[in-house]
């Protein structure tokens, strides 16, 4: 009965009804897509790198002049770092996860030089103690043995006999199963055998844009990295990172003063830095969503107030004919539900369409039904809340107004 009279009165107020429905539709569409984008940022920011993050720090080292005994120096530094109290492991390398810089090579299942099946893969140089230094989890096979470790200068064309890859890379290169024992080719006819699989280690570029699909395609190669200009990755016992960061620099300087040590960074800061942009974007989008909901709520208040003002006489008449205050209240709430509901349904359609489009352009993950539903529900609820105040004002219109001006 009420629905009939509401739809009749809505027909008289097309403009207002359309405006509210449109506003609600856009709000639902924007909020649910924003939620999906923020969720993607958050997922990325929270993605584990695979290494023992709370206890790792990195530093960059360069010796002054051109030392002829680089290899011995790196070995000496590593021995010194490993002997420090509180240190679990240390490695030299050309990069580390989320560093935005490092080494990669083309890995292929086929020995020929045809690059169609060669995939850019991040490589980390480690020795037999690499597992301890990174704190990665070995899920199959074994770690490198000391007799397998060679020496790698930046552009040595070494082809390793053995390698360890991530679980992701194992599934990627060997979808049929067991990767351990299989071979891969590093742009060379000489095969490299996979001897172990680690649960995960992210690439140096994992946090950067345009790097989807290049997040966990990484491998460990059995080399000590030697260069004038390298990174040391140091893992400490829990709670001792800050102390070791100081001690490590003192120790290295005590051994050879003629060097530059910089970028001494706890891994937590590396993570912060690489995701700073994503974090600020999420925060902005989140703020925007809250503002949007507020604006929409005020819009509903404004437009409903306008309707109430327009229909003072009609309301008064109904009151005079016996409608209770509750009836007037419920009338406006039902009306709002009808209009906002239409808007929300429209919004869900817009949200899905927008999401499909974004999924194509941004490689955005599909927005879940839960998000669409909750965005629509929140907006509906808000709109019902917003209608309370004008509806109360409508309910307080005295029946006597009906008899005025007749």
């Amino acid at each position: 009965m009420e629905i009939v009279s509401i739809s009749a009165s809505l027909r008289h107020n097309k403009a207002g009804a359309v405006l509210i429905a449109l506003q609600i539709a856009l709000t639902v569409a924007i909020v649910c897509n924003t939620l999906a984008i923020v969720k993607q940022y958050v997922d990325q920011i929270e993605r584990p790198s695979g290494i023992d993050e709370p206890n790792i720090f990195t530093l960059h080292n360069q010796w002054l002049g051109e030392p002829p005994d680089l290899e011995a120096r790196v070995q000496g530094d590593l021995a010194a770092l490993r002997s420090l109290p509180g240190v679990v492991g240390a490695e030299s390398g050309s990069g580390f996860p989320l560093n935005a810089g490092g080494t990669s090579g083309f890995f292929s299942r086929h020995p020929d030089q045809h690059y169609d099946d060669a995939w850019n893969t991040a490589v980390y140089y480690v020795d037999e103690q690499g597992q301890a230094a990174f704190g990665v989890k070995l899920v199959a096979g074994r770690w490198f043995r000391a007799d397998e470790i060679g020496v790698q200068h930046p552009s040595d064309p070494n082809i390793p006999a053995v390698m360890i890859i991530t679980q992701w890379a194992a599934r990627f290169f060997f979808p049929d199963g067991n990767a351990v024992g299989q071979v891969l080719y590093l742009a060379s006819p000489t095969p490299s055998r996979v001897v172990g699989v680690v649960e995960r280690i992210e690439t140096p570029w994992a946090g950067m844009r345009h790097m989807d699909g290049f997040v966990e395609r990484s491998a460990f190669l059995p080399y000590r990295f030697v260069n004038n200009g390298l990174w040391y990755v140091v893992r400490t016992r829990p709670g001792q990172r800050a102390a070791v960061m100081k001690a490590a620099q003192q120790k290295l300087f005590a051994m050879t003063p003629a060097r530059i040590i910089d970028s001494v960074t706890p891994f937590s800061e590396t993570r912060q830095r690489i995701y700073a942009r994503g974090r600020s974007s999420s925060l902005m989008l989140g703020t925007l969503s809250v503002l949007l909901l507020t604006v929409t709520a005020f819009g509903v208040v404004g437009l409903t107030s306008y309707w109430v003002a327009q229909r003072r006489r009609q309301i008064g008449m109904r009151r005079a004919l016996g409608a209770r205050r509750v009836d007037i209240l419920s009338y406006f709430h039902t009306e709002n539900l009808l209009v906002a509901g239409t808007g929300a349904v429209l919004g869900i359609g817009l949200c899905v369409a927008g999401n499909l489009w974004l999924a194509q352009r941004l490689a955005l993950t599909r927005v879940g039904v839960g998000y669409i539903g909750s965005a629509a529900l929140v907006v509906l609820l808000l709109s019902q809340l917003a209608v309370i105040w004008p509806a109360l004002r409508a309910a307080s219109i005295p029946p006597a107004i009906a008899s005025r001006g007749l």
Partner: protein
Amino acid sequence: MLAYFLELAFRSLRRNVVLTALMVAAVGVGIGASMTMLTTLIAMTNNPIPDKSSQLFLPQIDSFGDASRTHDMRDVPYVLPYRDAEAFMKAQLGVRQTAMYPLALNVKPPQGDLFEASGRATYTDFFAMFEVPFRSGAPWGHREDADQGNVVVLSSTLADRLFPGVDPVGRTVNLGKRDYRVTGVAGHWTPTPRFYDTNAGGFDEPEDFYIPFSIAIDRQIETNEYACDATSLAANWEARLKSDCPWVQFWVELPHAAQVDAFRTFLQNYAAEQQRLGRYPWLPVTALFDVMGWMDHVHVVPSQVRVNSMIASGFLIVCLINAVGLMLAKFSSRAVELSVRRALGASRNNLFLQCVTESMLIGLLGGLLGLGLTAVGLSALRALRGITSQDSIVGHLASLNLEVVLVTFGVAILATICSGLYPALRASRVQPAWQLKAQ
């Protein structure tokens, strides 16, 4: 007449302060939030060198070849093998041209510790071509380009750090253990985007120093950006110069259409000749981009920024729909007043214009509020991203400038006028007899 409309508008806005405040707030918040996000887009789509952007060109040649192009490097490399860059330099087809590459060297200051600075090996044409301002001194000459002169141009930042309070022109700087004579100091220069080298995204600051290309090659100073992977990079410098590993950037200035055509033909012939000589087993694809074409090609505006901007625009639209609703409410609550004015002889047009004036006033106030909120939003954004200087390339991405201010006001006023049209039209169609009788 306008003064009268304005006076009426002011009065009407003062009468219902709450509704007015709501409208101004809706417009202001919409403008503020969306402009905060759109500022980044405006800065990123900026033309960094407006008077010359259609005269500067970057040639590409496909040194990887279709067969060797992998999934991760789907596109033609944007840098050239050294030998190709050298051939392009020798052709001298532009009024200016430069081969160049980024590098990093340790700087030994007169006092204090060594530190690393970013630099660029380039020809002297770089400075005139890209309109680099000079604070003192001048670029080196063509003679230094040819004779491997050990000269350097410093950025003002590096100059101030090395020689505080002194003009360094004529002095010597130690870079990578070699001495270079300072010929000039570049002034403050922040091309946004940094169009001449977009490898790292296009929003890095210009480098700290510039040295002649020839001396960098002679001293075997490595770049940090090879476009081939480590396994195919020749170990020895001479072999690297002869190899097909691309790492040298190249720009050419071609002010006339005929020169552009000539260069394009040259490029195609060159590619065909390289194939004929057996260097490439394929006919290399070639391309020639001007500055804005290149910005588009490398997607200098990240898709995230585009999406954020779309969301921001959607937000603005919702705020404006909101404003339409509120104005509808406001004007219709004044039906009686408008009826009286109609009855007293005001025409429909008069009422319409008066309502539009009122919405314009709201747009103006909303725009002012929006500008304030944009400033607040942008400073929050700078704080979030840890940007300290507004007058830098990253700073430009999150700072108010004249363009942003103008766009803000333009959008605010245009949008409120548009959203005021329908409510004003409805209000001016008021039936005086009906309204007055009902009282």
